[in-house]
Structure formats: C-alpha cells, structure tokens
Symmetry: C2
Subunit: 415 residues, 2 copies
C-alpha cells in the first residue's frame, strides 16, 4: 500500500525516488498524485519526507489538486540553462535536476520510475549521472519494483474503485449478451442486425465501446471480442469483419479503466450462441472445471504460482499441452493463471512459473483467476476470468458476479 512506501524504500536501500511523466496513464505518477491534467512533471520524494511535484506553470492548478507540495520548473532559469546546454533540452533537464538535487540535498541511491518517452529521458539521465556522480540512479526491473510491490496490496478506497469498474464491466457484458441473443438469425446461422443485414463483429464492438463510455469507463487498452479462430489466440482482439455465427466460441475479455488512467477491472466470459458443438462444449467444461477447482482450493497467503502448477496439472490430465510440458506451444493452456489488477492491468502478484516466491495471495491483493484453453486451428478457444479481492478477513471475494453460462439461447431462433 501507499503507506508502505517509506518502509519499502528502506528495504530496497533507496534514498530517494524520481518519478517522471504525466499524471495520467502513468501508474506510479497517478498513484502518488491522484491523476489530473499534469504533463511532463517530475516528482521527487526523499525517504521519510513528503513528495515534491515539479510542473509547468500552465498546469499548476491541476497539480495542486494532488495535495502535494507543488513547485514550478520556472523557478529555475531554464532559458539560461538551455543556452548553456547549446539548445539541448535533455541536457538542460539534467542541469535543472542537478540544481534541484543540490537544493534538496539528495545523494545516494535514487530509484527512477515513470511511463515516458525513452530516448530523451535516457539522454537526460546519462548526462545527469555525469553531473552528479554522488547519485546512483537505480532502474528496477518492473516485476518487483518499488511501485509494483507497494501497489500489490490495495486499501479499501482502491478496492471500491476497482469494484465500481467491475459493476460497469458486468453491466456492459449483460447488455452485450442481451443484444446478441435478441438478434434475428439467418438461414446460414448468422446473426442479423436491426436492418436485417449480417451482423459484423465490429458493430458489436462499437456498441460495447458506447456502453462503456456512457458509464464513464475507458477501454484504454481495447478489449477482446473474438470469435472462432481468433478466440483461439489469447490476445487477438477480434476481426471487425467477422460475422457473428451460432455455435462458435466467443471470447469476451473486457478490461476497462477509470477515465483518465485510473483503476482497471478484468473479466472474461466465453459464449457460444444458440448451441455448442460437442468439441467446444468439452473444451468449455474442462476450463470451467479447472476454474472451479482452483477457486475451491485457493488459500490465503499461498504462493500464486502454486495455482499455476495446479492448473497445469488439471489440464495435463485432460491431455492438453501446458507451459510445463510444452513451453512456447501455440495451443492448449498457454498463459499464466492470473495477475494483479490495479492502476496497471497487469501487476503483482504474478503467477507465471518463473515468478519469484514472494508473489503471495495476501490480504489486500486484487488479482484475476483466468484459466483458458486454445485451439486456433480448430477455430476455438475458451477462457473464464474473474477479478478477486483477498479481504482483510482472508476471504476471496469476486468483485463483480456474473453467470458462467456457455451456451446463450437465442430468443428468436429455435434451431
């Protein structure tokens, strides 16, 4: 949690942290500022001291909403520095940072963070290190970085925000199911739109986007609504020209975010409209069985990776390739069981086979459970996913309930 930052900085032997970039769509900066229209900011926090946020004058009022101590870049004579740097803004930024560090008396190990444009920032940091050899810039591997560890456990306010996105998500999923099942169906088993034309997947996606926007949620990273072959490739987002046909697997993986780059929710259902083929029904049953098995067996403070092992075991028994038996396979079970969800759609705890052993399902964790099986060459894929909160009392709670039905009966079609 955010309140752990100083303790975590100490355990990582960081004397200060530097966060660069915008306040929005930049998880570490959003985490510390609360977001808002503040661009190209620099946040500096010494261990056990309050953070200071440097920004451009035009954005001072947006920055002030963070409640942080706000200071302006204009306090420094950047035009003079730019001249001294021969017009090189990356060098100018390094010189300014040097002045700020001297004023704030920062030395030692300084962690660097932020979602930024790499080139200029790399140039600035390399030049800064030359100016200030007393500072050691520390780039942490994202997976286990300070912010990933701090963000891993959520407070009640964060959980409430994720739960709100879950409510919106499941509302939109329900609207989508209602819409699809209300469509007329052609003699070739293709859904028809309001005008009697073949319903295209792109039109369904457009409706989903609209339903999200109406509710104040952003599909920042898109969403997956894929049918048939594409459903068999976990991250294919779906081909807009595909027709909506009965009896094919539809993977609907939707992960909207609060507007402005806030908290995500993550959710997947797999549907087959009208009826299911024996092959897809079997695949669904296996995934649903695995999902239930995992949920039944999940334990407080267990290692998340243990359930990846359990999932592999279950699917291997069913005869599917898994990351244990066939790493790099393009069919079978080919991803990890889940991941933390917060200001990042993917964050700690991790469940992959190579995840470190400190990825525990401890109180405050919000994470997905999402087993899946994929056979693109057979035109099918199934995934089931819910987002869970590990409550302070140790109970694993789904943050938004929704039925698991695979076959969605068509209201105007009787086979």
């Amino acid at each position: 949690m955010k309140s752990d930052l100083d303790i975590l900085m100490k355990s990582k032997n960081l004397d200060a942290i530097l966060v660069f970039g915008n306040a929005e769509h930049n998880p570490p900066m959003t985490y510390l500022t609360g977001g808002g229209h503040v661009s190209a900011a620099t946040l500096i926090k010494k261990r056990d001291k309050a953070a200071v946020l440097f920004c451009n004058a035009m954005e001072r009022e947006e920055a002030a909403k963070s409640g942080l101590n706000v200071r302006l870049y204009d306090e420094y004579p950047w035009q003079d520095m730019l001249e001294e740097a021969g017009g090189d803004t990356a060098k100018m930024a390094a010189m300014r940072l040097n002045r700020i560090f001297l004023e704030m008396e920062i030395s030692g190990r300084v962690g660097i963070f932020g979602h930024v444009e790499l080139g200029g920032m790399f140039a600035t940091l390399i030049f800064f290190q030359m100016l200030m050899p007393s500072v050691e810039l520390v780039g942490e591997t994202r997976e286990n970085s300070l912010f990933m560890v701090a963000m891993e456990t959520k407070d009640e306010t964060e959980v409430a925000r994720i739960r709100r996105m879950g409510k919106i998500t499941t509302e939109v999923v329900r609207l989508t199911a209602d819409y699809l099942t209300s469509c007329e169906v052609s003699s070739s088993q293709v859904l028809l739109d309001e005008n009697g034309a073949d319903l295209k997947l792109g039109a369904v996606k457009a409706k989903i986007n609209l339903w999200l926007a109406e509710r104040g949620a952003s599909p920042t990273e898109g969403f997956i609504f894929a049918i048939g072959h594409d459903a068999g490739v976990p991250h294919s987002q779906g081909n807009p020209a595909d027709l909506m046909r009965l009896g094919q697997t539809i993977v609907f993986d939707i992960y909207p975010q609060e507007q402005g780059g806030g908290y995500f929710y993550d959710f997947t259902r797999t549907w087959s409209l009208g009826y299911a083929t024996p092959e897809t029904q079997k695949l669904f049953d296996q995934v649903y069985h695995a999902y239930n098995k995992i949920v039944e067996n999940i334990d407080l403070n267990a290692n998340f990776k243990d359930y990846q092992m359990l999932t592999c075991e279950i699917f291997e028994k069913d005869g599917h390739p898994t990351p244990r038996t066939q790493p790099g396979s393009l069919q079978g079970y080919i991803h990890s069981l889940g991941h933390g969800v917060g200001l990042n759609i993917h964050e700690r705890p991790w469940s992959g086979l190579t995840a470190s052993d400190d990825n525990l399902l401890k109180p405050g964790v919000v994470m997905t459970i999402e087993p899946g099986l994929y056979y693109p060459d057979q035109g099918m894929g199934v995934r089931i996913e819910d987002t869970y909160w590990v409550r302070p009392d140790g109970v694993f709670e789904i943050l938004a309930d929704y039925p698991y039905d695979f076959v969605l009966p068509m209201k105007k079609w009787n086979g």
Copy 2:
C-alpha cells in the same frame, strides 16, 4: 514522412534503431507497425533494411497485421537466460537483445525510442551496454528526434485520418453548442438541465465524452471545458462542480484521438453564453484579431517561430504580458502559438521562442494556430485554435471549418 526514415537515419549517423513497448499509445511504434494489440514488443531496424518486430507468441497474429517481419521472443531460450541472470528479467532482456544484435550483425550508433516504463528499461539498457560495448545507444532529445522529424510531414493518408478526426471534433462541438443554447436559464443566469436542476459542467463533459465515443474517437488525454477562472488557466480541464453561467468565458479545447492511439485533432473555441461582458468581449476581439492577422500573414516555408514573435508583437501592442516581455507570467499571452499534430498531440514543428530554426511551415506539415489571452484573477480566458495542413501546393488549409462566434445566443432566454 515515413519514407524519409533511412535518409534521416543517415543524416543522424544512426546505424540502427530500436523501438520498445506497445504498438498502441506509443507513437514511434504505432508509426511503424500501424498499431494493434501488441504489447512489450521490440522493433529493430537497420539502416536501409526492413524492420523486424519481436513479440510474444500470444500476440503473433496482431503483430502480423503490421505487415512487418514478425519474430517471437520464444525463439530464444528465455527461461535459460533468466536462470543465468539470476531471475532478473531486465538482465534477461539485455541478454536476449545481445543475441539478436549478434545475429542481425548490428553495431555502431543505435537510436532508442518508445513510450515505456523507465526503470526496467534503463536497467536493461545499462546492462546491454556492458554486454555490447561495440554498440553506442543514442537517446535523442524528443523535440528533434528521428521520429519527430520524420513525423513532421504527413502523407495524404495521414492527413485524411487527421481530417476525419477534425470532422468528428467539429460535429461534437456543434452538438455541445446546440445543447447548451437550448437549455432553460434560471433567474440567477444559470443553465438548467432536462430536470430543471442547475446544469453542472461535469454533466456537459459526460455528454461530450459520449458523443465522441459514438463517433469512434477517444478523448485519450481528456479535453478542456473550463469556465470563468479555470478558462484563465490554459491547461485547467474544468471543474465538474462548476455551474454553467451566462456571460462567462468558456474555453472548449478538444483534442480527440483515433481509438487505439492513432491520429489526433486539436481545436479550441471560446464561448460566452447569452451575452458577453465588455471585458470578455474586448479580450475575445483581441485574440480573434491576432488569429486573423497570423493567418493572413502566414507563409509557406517560413519559420514557425516568426509567428510566435508576431503574436507577441500584436498582444504587446494591446498591453498584454507575453513570453518575450514577461517570461513565466501567469497572465496575458503565456504559451506558444502552435505545434504540429499527428500521432502525438504535440509534435514538430514547434513555435516556441527557443525552438530551433528548422521548424519550418513546409508542405506536409499539420499544425495548430492557437493564440490566447488569460486573466485567471479576472475570471476569464480566451483561446481560438484550428488545425491547418500545409498542402503540397503551398496553401494553408483548415482541416475542419467551424464558426468563431463568441456570444452564443440562448434560444430560451431573452435577458
């Protein structure tokens, strides 16, 4: 233009370029791949050779849509490398990059690009430099970097996409004006909503978001709809709790983007509902006069900064502080005249007083003209902005026309 990349690489003495990150919301990667749901990819291009895109297996099909040569990270035994790296994924990534560079026979100066999480990438690059001292990683200052220069001129396809966003933008602006002017007005000159309650600015913003979504445009970086004091602070986005009152300046600066992180449009109008006070009318007239003066005088292949000088001159004559007379001022004319627009909302050419002299208004440039005057303490601000394309025939064309009216008469209010 994209077709200039090899020539630009040569002029910048770059033997290769490396682009990291997602294909979406990452302008250099979007530019070269066309976007799509490809995350944590690595694009490598040697000068005068075709680009190669490395990605995760799950995203191979999305990656293939780029038309580039796609290769999978899984071709490398990353589990072994990870073990060798002691579980440090940043080091593993450096080791893999080293293998790829050896295979592709890359050495010399390599430009690095991409919108990424800084910490882990910094660690990877520092480690990579140790592994491969024959490579010099070059972080270019963003303002004049390879991609900024290439993207500065647009081809017809890009212009068509920007124009389409302009059409959507002005449609939404018109809907907003129609909605506001149709509202009933209370005796205290506050607009009323459909239920007769005071209309809040947040409710207007929600409608604008919806109208954008209906048209397939994303307010990725938000938009500014600010009234009174907030209109006087250029980048304040507007306070949702503010009431919509007659006779106050409303700055509506809207810059939507194609969904998935594509091309932007940028547009501003300033309105006063029902009537204008003499002070705000005067301010508007001065900005409108400056806007017209600039547009009348703008010349093909001129230095963009010259028109910033002209704008300062005009506003100084009217008695306003400008960046020339009072740098760092919080009132008067306090920003630069415009900027390029493309996959970045702000890109080359630049018009600020410190911009380099090669920011020319040459054919293919798409840029904004946006003079403004701000007096937050007097509760007012005015900005007018259009996006122009410098056509191959040298004509400056507005990509979406919209009237400049300041006072919008209220249909159901007669003073």
